[in-house]
């Protein structure tokens, strides 16, 4: 089995540790701790929106530096954030196929005594559950079928596009996250604008534009009666959780607000189906209350036989 260095990034460990906790909890529950290693030496991924826009070669060099840290330990990289995934995967793919770029980057890296040899693969946890853990193992651990809830999957731009590089799933009609959600017994519902951006990328420039994007998604998700959303990125999480509250306030006159659609990181949802006590996940931290969802699940959840 492939072994990975866990790349935490900055948003998850420094702002949303409860998301990190949920991933580690699941890993432990699946008895798969030996697949994922904590190593030191990683820096900023760097983030895939501002940095490549300011200076591509700096972006590539800083990303490649992280790749060398994993390469030294002969490990691949696993990310919890789709932003880290896009940055590191883009660098790994391009540096593998563009020798001139690799040469340039290595010249800079030599100043800190490093060299990248192009051997590291980068994976996001969604792919890890899909390929490495697999459905058989996931389903075996489901003790509480979430049959009565409808979940709206939000893949996130940086998991899907550009598909030629990230190669996670069909960019127009992805299904992998839906399949992962349905492994819990829940129904993953289709809605318009599934592939739309969460708006995190424009938030710092213009909060209103980002809030409009959040509202558009929520409106479509509310229309199909989803009980919650499931995301696989801390930035998307913040946009739809805290952002939902803020956008509902900002648009209180123009939409059917406030929306109250709880947002769960995928491993939190998985944890509920594994029968892990919800208290452990510290759902109090979520701005949109998760309690009604938990009550709905408990009202009729059938224990798996």
């Amino acid at each position: 089995m492939t072994e990975y260095a866990l790349f935490l990034g900055c948003m998850v460990p420094n702002r949303l540790p409860h998301l990190e906790f949920s991933f580690r909890k699941i890993l432990n529950h699946l008895d798969s701790n030996d697949l994922v290693h904590d190593i030191s030496g990683f820096g900023c991924c760097p983030e895939p929106i501002g940095f490549p826009g300011m200076d591509n070669i700096t972006f590539m060099t800083l990303a490649a530096r992280n790749l060398t840290v994993a390469e030294e330990q002969k490990l691949d990289i696993l990310t919890l954030c789709t932003g880290c995934f896009e940055s590191l995967k883009t660098a790994s793919v391009k540096l593998k196929h563009e020798p001139k770029l690799l040469e340039k980057v290595n010249k800079h890296l030599s100043k800190v005594g490093r060299e990248y040899n192009g051997t590291v693969e980068v994976k996001h946890i969604a792919q890890f559950f899909y390929d490495d853990i697999g459905f058989e193992k996931l389903k075996k651990n489901v003790v509480k079928h979430l049959d009565n809830i409808k979940v709206a999957a939000h893949y996130g731009c940086h998991l899907l596009r550009p598909s030629e590089i990230l190669a996670f799933d069909d960019p127009h009609n992805p299904t992998k996250l839906d399949e992962l959600i349905e492994a819990t017994g829940a129904k993953s519902v289709m809605y318009l604008r599934r592939d739309y951006c969460c708006g995190a990328g424009t938030k710092s420039l213009d909060g209103n534009v980002a809030a409009e994007m959040v509202m558009e998604k929520l409106r479509q998700i509310a229309r199909v009666g989803a009980d919650c959303m499931s995301v696989v990125c801390p930035f998307c999480f913040l946009q739809f959780d805290l952002g939902q509250e803020m956008a509902s306030r900002a648009f209180k006159d123009s939409y059917d607000v406030p929306y109250q659609i709880p947002v769960l990181y995928y491993t939190q949802l998985l944890g509920l189906s594994f029968g892990i006590d919800p208290k452990e996940f510290d759902f109090k931290r979520h701005r949109i209350k998760v309690k009604p969802l938990l009550e709905k699940i408990d009202a009729v959840a059938v224990p798996a036989v």
Binding site: L8, C10, M11, P13, N14, R15, P17, H18, E20, F21, R24, D38, S40, G41, F42, G43, C44, P46, E47, P48, I49, G50, P52, G53, M54, D55, N56, I57, T58, T61, L62, R65, H108, L109, K111, V112, C157, R161, P162, S163, P171, H172, D195, Y196, C197, G199, A200, G201, T202, S204, L205, D206, N208, V209, E212, M213, D282
Partner: protein
Amino acid sequence: MVTRSKHIKINHEFIRELTKLPECENLKNCYQCGACSSYCPSFKYSKVYNPRKIVQDVLVGLKDEILENTNLWFCGVCHACTEQCPQGVELSEILSHIRNLASKIGNIPTHLVSEVKNLLETGQVVPPSSAINRRREKFGLPELPDAPVDEIRTLVKSTGFEDMIRRKIELEKAKEREIMEEAKARMKKMEEKKTEDA
């Protein structure tokens, strides 16, 4: 009658310079269908950002107008345009390259300058905090290793990035000074006028 501002400068070299780069060579295949913009969330909601129009301006040669336009940064890098373009124009990459050129002349939004400052100080864009570290402890999460700040600083110096950001910060300061000076001059004039009137 269509009148043109005499300030518009056409730069015929711009498109040639851009298409020399491998990531921008397919730019000429653009037939201005607008699929990119129709899928672009920033176009839909910002009302001031239009990726198709940027390509048009590149094709026409409006180099300065493009590079000086701060709206360039409305791109959320969602790559929907690249995925939708029927002509295989890798637009999000091209736009990113255009922002690289804009950055060189100081067109960088302030929130990104702060991001860089965080990176150079802490090695991360979202720095750690003691309150969160206490919460990590409660969760039983491992202690976070130190970020490799020194290596990052050396690398951004090596690529010339640090200089570029420093220039940008100086530019900003100069602009602030200019505004202050202007305000002072105006105040002075008003004072003078007051004493004259008296």
